[in-house]
Symmetry: C2
Amino acid sequence: MKPIDILNKHDMKRTSCREGIIEVVMTASQALSENEIRERLAGNYDRTTFYRSFKTLEEHNIIHKIVVNNQLVKYALNNSVTHKNEHTHFFCNKCQSVKCMDDVPVQKYQLPDGYSDNKTEVLIKGTCANCKTEE
Amino acid sequence: MKPIDILNKHDMKRTSCREGIIEVVMTASQALSENEIRERLAGNYDRTTFYRSFKTLEEHNIIHKIVVNNQLVKYALNNSVTHKNEHTHFFCNKCQSVKCMDDVPVQKYQLPDGYSDNKTEVLIKGTCANCKTEE
DNA sequence: AATTTATTGCAACAATGCTGCAAATAATAT
DNA sequence: ATATTATTTGCAGCATTGTTGCAATAAATT
């Protein structure tokens, strides 16, 4: 599915910024930061527009945000085909890359009485396959 | 163990800021943000000193940081008695509180070939026992 | 082509966090 | 007790991430 079709499906206005972000995130093999997305984008957009686009796209479940730490945020496409609903994320301490681990589902956690869970975020930090071989 | 003893055990200078932070975090039932800690502190410290103190205390494994999102960071004591090594964290969407789930250990995740894990962070978001009863 | 509605860009602001440097403080030796 | 040394603090300044209000602009609809 093309970026335009995705926007149409969600009854969203087809602006070039949104189209561009979807395009970039769609073709990326890993989650990308705001700057990484901007670099790959044709047009030049204001930072505010960027943030608002991310927010809207996230609210419509087109992309999701991965907060590595308070200084590093990345975005990835919600692909219902390849990305299982609740997958884990992997962060490589060496190359700082973030990958959606589509084949590593989030496990169920048993909470104490009274607590109810809504969403569980799992971030696995370590060394990725690519950096491992380069040692 | 008192804050001073903890600092001595780690061969750290006993400054009032460090002592205060440990004191506050020690007596808290939940993880606290920078501001929450500052409010509970007697002395008035510069923000830089605060951050540096957090950093040093974290490096010495006295406290640990919980990044809820890029706008909300909380700190909690590393109590080897009550806090198991790898525990999960719970974030309440209603009251914004963060709690160390000492009895809910982080589960093991099987990664694809080539990947090696170092640390796994699990943040469970939902409604806490306190907010549940208030509905 | 005109209207309506949503989006953009700009300016300003807030929060978190880092760095260099001089002043102050803690631990140690005298 | 006092002097010395090493660490820590406070300040100024800066970077990054993110938000808000408002006027200008662009998209979808009539």
